[in-house]
């Protein structure tokens, strides 16, 4: 089972400095993505979905935690170790205990994390590619489609122009465009076509994992279906693994095998998509599901939205919650009292 895991995210933390304090955009998120699956990440805007995606692809230097790709550590943060050292030092001061051996050990771990983060294999990292949300803003308007798509290859050191061209043509055809499009500029394309260019740019590197950050939310309805179908095709043909970030739950349900629900930087529920939609456990997931509009007027007129008020539902004064397994493959962010309740709910 474990060798099936393509990407493993452990206690990922991404904090941003904001004025005096820190914004905990992603706070202790762990999950794995298995090879060949589509992992959906949903949540409202500002909950840290995009930040998670960007941290994995090393667009940000992560604050804490580890990211393993194919078993190798590609990104690591040092905040956890630093905090521990601080605690130990304080303990020494207060109680006079000697922790120097532990501190030494932690320092070594920091060094190794820093080394791994800095010296991650570039070739490996290029096997993770990203598709961005806005197809207009993510393509350079001064580059032709050929230049945009081939840029990654050239940076990798490929010099043979013929070979590059051939590769560009091949991916263009794969995403449903034609050779002639290579010489044009992004503004000459429609929104759907632009998103196809973005996809072509990401698949030319022969990636194993694609992080698709809301690839369809800026598109028209009819074009959305085209892009989803294209991603589905590519996934089959190229044996891709996809991490699909979106806020449109119907699409995520349709497209993903497993889904993680995020709320304010935390992963609150993680399960197979069928399981999640049939038996949502966390109150936030329930509220999110109750908000999905469906193309059915009679259902819509009856639909009651469940409002999620964290301060009323949870009582975390005694015990802090963690992500815990309620039943195989179904994780919920809760403390032990809640866990019992959820388990009872599952049994019923």
């Amino acid at each position: 089972m474990s060798d099936n895991v393509l990407l493993k995210v452990e206690h990922l933390k991404q904090y941003f400095k904001m004025g005096k304090g820190e914004l905990k955009a992603v706070d202790d998120v762990s999950f794995d993505i298995k090879k060949g699956e589509v992992f959906g990440l949903v949540g409202e805007s500002g909950c840290g979905k995009t930040t998670t995606g960007r941290s994995i692809i090393k667009l940000y230097d992560i604050t804490g935690g580890n990211v393993y790709f194919k078993g190798k550590r590609i990104a690591a943060g040092t905040r956890d170790f630093e905090d521990k050292i601080k605690d130990l030092k304080a303990d020494t001061k207060l109680n006079g205990k000697d922790h120097s051996a532990e501190i030494e050990d932690l320092k070594k771990q920091i060094a190794s994390a820093k080394y791994d983060h800095k010296h991650a294999d570039k070739k490996e990292v290029t096997q993770i590619q990203m598709i961005f949300q806005d197809p207009i803003a993510s393509l350079n308007p001064r580059m032709t489609v050929r230049e945009i798509i081939a840029e990654g290859l050239i940076i990798q050191g490929m010099k043979d122009k013929k070979l590059i061209d051939e590769k560009v043509y091949r991916v263009l055809e794969m995403v449903g465009l034609v050779r002639e499009h290579a010489g044009r500029y992004p503004h000459e394309f429609s929104g759907g076509q632009r998103q196809r260019i973005g996809i072509a740019r990401s698949i030319i590197m022969k990636p194993e994992l694609i992080i698709a950050d809301e690839p369809i939310s800026a598109l028209d309805v009819s074009i959305q279906a085209q892009v989803i179908n294209l991603l589905n095709e590519l996934r089959e043909n190229m044996d891709l693994t996809i991490m699909f970030i979106a806020h449109d739950l119907s699409v995520v349900k349709y497209f993903s095998d497993r889904i993680g629900v995020m709320y304010f930087g935390k992963m609150v529920e993680l399960a197979d998509s069928e399981e999640l939609f049939d038996h949502p456990l966390h109150p936030y997931t329930k509220s999110l599901l109750s908000a999905i509009p469906l193309p059915d007027p009679h259902y819509e007129k009856r639909r009651k939205r469940i409002v999620y008020k964290p301060e009323e539902v949870h009582d975390y004064s005694k015990e802090k919650p963690t992500l815990q397994q309620v039943k195989p493959g179904h994780f919920v962010y809760c403390n032990s009292a809640e866990l019992e309740n959820y388990k009872k709910e599952v049994r019923e």
């Binding site: 309805v221 939609f277 999905i292 193309p295």
Partner: protein
């Protein structure tokens, strides 16, 4: 059912460098009172353009080719900009897509909410003043001229009567001003007191004390002003009580005592807010004739009637007949001029109808015609003759466009020909022309037609008017004129103060569900989340109490939970304020919740039109099927039926059914002839040849039929 908006055969196109984009191509829509009409379609299908046409905010390069949008008996498309100020925001209001870009980032929310209210008030004052003065002068001139003709009237009486009227209205304005000043202060005080009563316990004493003192000062002003007579000692006592309570208010325990004194003061002030307004014009006359008469302390309705009767009998009766004479004269003169102009227009249209036009002749005739038309306009009439007012500019621009499109010498001719050929070639290949085509390639035929039409439309309108002028009742017109002047005079005074605007704004913010509105009032847009920002936009749209709300994709930029909150809010406001809503979106899921009726648009046309149940449970048009099948729902497993290709280029709209090229059910006739709107039920229409009796019977795609089956099953299960 009362019809609110009636769009008939609307056609709008945009002039761009690449040619004319035909954005809306003949649509018919009806919006009834209290219903939500959803307009669904892809981007570029013309749904936003339709909405913008209703508000008169089309881009400057747009051309309204034909059609009418009827609202309240008026055509919004032919309305002048000044008239539109009355409608935009006040009657019809709009919520835009992106709450981030529709708010000003460097202005506090409160200011943005009150800005329009205050500015609108100021602008109204200014225009009203101008309108009153010009109208008054025109009327006077017309009356004097009428006196010259008609020996039974003497110029002196007219002069003196007009002067008297002016004096009365001036006096009326003075009275109104004094009245409103006092009334507003009273209202503001009452409102503020009501507001502070709820806040006083939450806030620190030192925070709120200054504001309370200000209210006290305002309350003093009320006391000194017109409304409250000086004998009213209870008010004075209560005010004094309130002021002492404020100065001694230092800790929260004293709050209750302060609140009770505030309540007392408020009770004293509140009745002013609900009093009937006195009839100021009549009052002014009454006072000038009977200066000794007491006007305070009497029941206001009775007083109004008494004063009005006196005013009617003593002054207005004679004055109305004089005004009627003036209007009759002005109208007759205009009719005569119109007859002459019509004749001339009909004669000179052959100048423009020639195959080859002479520029000099065209321009000279145009100048001559404009002079005549200008002369024929009845400037005194309250209903403005839009066609005549714009005749000059539209004819001249038509002539200019036409002649600039003709090459002047051989060299230019060659260049034009080459450019045109290049352009045509590119178009024939179906290529999107990257660079702008030469500006001088204009459709000469269209320009020529425009020229002829401008002239033709005017004389047709004149013909109609002349035949109708015999039936005019000048007495009624005169009454309308006096009423109009009175309204203008009233508007000069009517003012919205900052305090009133603030109170309204906070009330609105509470209505759209913003917690702690008083605190939020002082914040900037960036301090609000997306959903809250959209609520502010909705509050601004509702500020002037419109009865039609146009929502242009109000939730597209928001995520699911916020989206459903906003939709709930709009639905609630619709019921509470009895709004009629036009809801524009591309998301059919959203529509199911909101709409009563749905119009599906594609390539500038309505392809299907029906109630919400009909569209979702019995869709008839292939495009509706495609839209429904291209979105997954929670039970979708099979491959999505994406609509192949992209929407057509509207510079060259395809022949026949615009959707044919992307439609797998398309038949030969779809590429040749445009389908008419077939009637399925009295409320359900669809424009597709599939509904023709000779068409083969086709079923909607499996994904759609499956879903409908499922939905029906669900319903049966539910009803059991």
């Amino acid at each position: 059912m009362e019809r609110k908006i009636d769009v008939r055969n609307l056609r709008v196109s945009f002039r761009t460098n690449n040619g004319t984009v035909k954005a809306v191509r003949g649509i018919n829509l009806q919006l009834n009172k209290g219903e939500t009409l959803a307009v669904v379609g892809e981007s570029g299908s013309g749904k936003s353009v339709t909405a913008r046409a209703m508000l008169g905010i089309l881009a400057p390069n747009s051309i309204v080719e034909s059609g009418e949008i009827l609202y309240d008996g008026k055509d919004l498309l032919k309305m002048s900009e000044e008239e539109f100020h009355d409608y935009r925001g006040n009657r019809i209001s709009m919520i835009f897509q992106d709450p981030m870009s529709s708010l000003n980032p460097i202005m506090k929310i409160g200011k943005q909410l009150t800005e329009a209210m205050i500015l609108n008030g100021k602008a109204n004052q200014r225009t009203a003043k101008k309108e009153f003065n010009t109208r008054f002068k025109l009327l006077k001139d017309a009356m004097l001229k009428a006196a010259e003709e008609n020996k039974s009237l003497s110029a002196e009486t007219i002069q003196s009567k007009m002067e008297e009227f002016k004096k009365i209205s001036d006096k009326g304005i003075e009275l109104t001003r004094a009245y409103y000043k006092a009334l507003n202060s009273a209202k503001e005080c009452a409102n503020e007191l009501a507001m502070y009563i709820t806040d006083i316990k939450k806030d620190e004493p030192k925070n709120i004390k200054d504001e309370l003192k200000e209210t006290g000062a305002k309350a003093k002003q009320v006391f000194h002003a017109y409304v409250i007579s000086k004998e009213n000692t209870t008010y004075e006592k209560k005010l004094q009580n309130y002021l002492t309570k404020i100065t001694s208010y230092n800790n929260i325990e004293q709050a209750d005592a302060l609140i009770s004194s505030m309540k007392e003061l408020r009770e004293e002030l509140e009745p002013f807010a609900s009093t009937v307004e006195p009839d100021f014009l009549a009052m002014a006359y009454y006072q000038s004739k009977k200066p000794a008469a007491r006007v305070t302390g009497v029941d206001i309705n009775k007083l109004n009637k008494e004063m009005r009767d006196f005013f009617e009998k003593d002054f207005l009766k004679d004055f109305t007949s004089l005004v009627a004479e003036g209007i009759r004269y002005s109208d007759r003169r205009a009719s005569e001029a119109k007859k002459e102009t019509t004749k001339k227009l009909k004669d000179s249209i052959q100048v423009y109808e020639k195959k080859t036009l002479d520029q000099k002749e065209c321009e000279e005739t145009a100048a001559e015609l404009t002079k005549l038309v200008e002369n024929s306009v009845d400037r005194l009439a309250l209903k403005k003759d839009n066609l005549a007012y714009v005749f000059d500019s539209s004819l001249h621009s038509a002539i200019k466009t036409y002649f600039e499109g003709i090459p002047k010498n051989q060299k230019e001719e060659q260049r034009f020909a080459a450019d045109t050929e290049k352009y045509n070639k590119a178009v024939a290949k179906g290529k999107d022309i990257g660079k702008p085509i030469p500006a001088l390639i204009v459709d000469l035929e269209l320009a020529h037609e425009n020229m002829i039409l401008t002239v033709k439309r005017l004389y047709e309108a004149y013909d109609k008017e002349i035949s109708g002028s015999a039936k005019k009742d000048y007495k009624v017109l005169a009454q309308e004129m006096i009423e109009h002047l009175y309204i203008q005079a009233h508007k000069i005074v009517h003012k919205i103060t900052k305090g009133m605007a603030k109170y309204h704004a906070i009330e609105l913010m509470q209505e759209v569900g913003i917690p702690e509105a008083r605190k939020r009032y002082k914040q900037y847009p960036f301090e609000f989340s997306g959903g809250m920002r959209q609520r502010i936009v909705i509050a601004i749209a509702l500020a002037a109490n419109p009865d039609i709300l146009i929502c242009d994709e109000p939730t597209t930029a928001l995520d699911v939970t916020i989206q459903s909150q906003i939709l709930e809010l709009i639905n609630r406001l619709k019921v509470e304020r009895q709004l009629s809503i036009i809801f524009i979106t591309h998301d059919l899921g959203v529509v199911a919740n909101m709409a009563d009726r749905i119009a599906v648009m594609y390539a500038g046309k309505i392809v299907e039109y029906g109630t919400v149940d009909e569209i979702f449970y019995e869709p008839a048009h292939p495009y509706t099927w495609a839209l429904l099948s291209s979105m997954p729902d929670l039970d979708t497993k099979e491959k999505l039926e994406a609509i192949p290709g992209t929407p057509p280029n509207m510079i060259h709209p395809p022949k026949g059914d615009a959707f044919a090229a992307r439609n797998k059910y398309a038949m030969q006739i779809d590429f040749e002839e445009e389908p008419p709107l077939f009637k399925i039920t009295p409320t359900h229409f669809a424009a597709t040849w599939l509904l023709h009796p000779n068409a083969p019977k086709v079923k909607p795609p499996k994904i759609v039929t499956d879903r409908i089956e499922r939905m029906k099953k669900l319903e049966v299960a539910d009803s059991e």
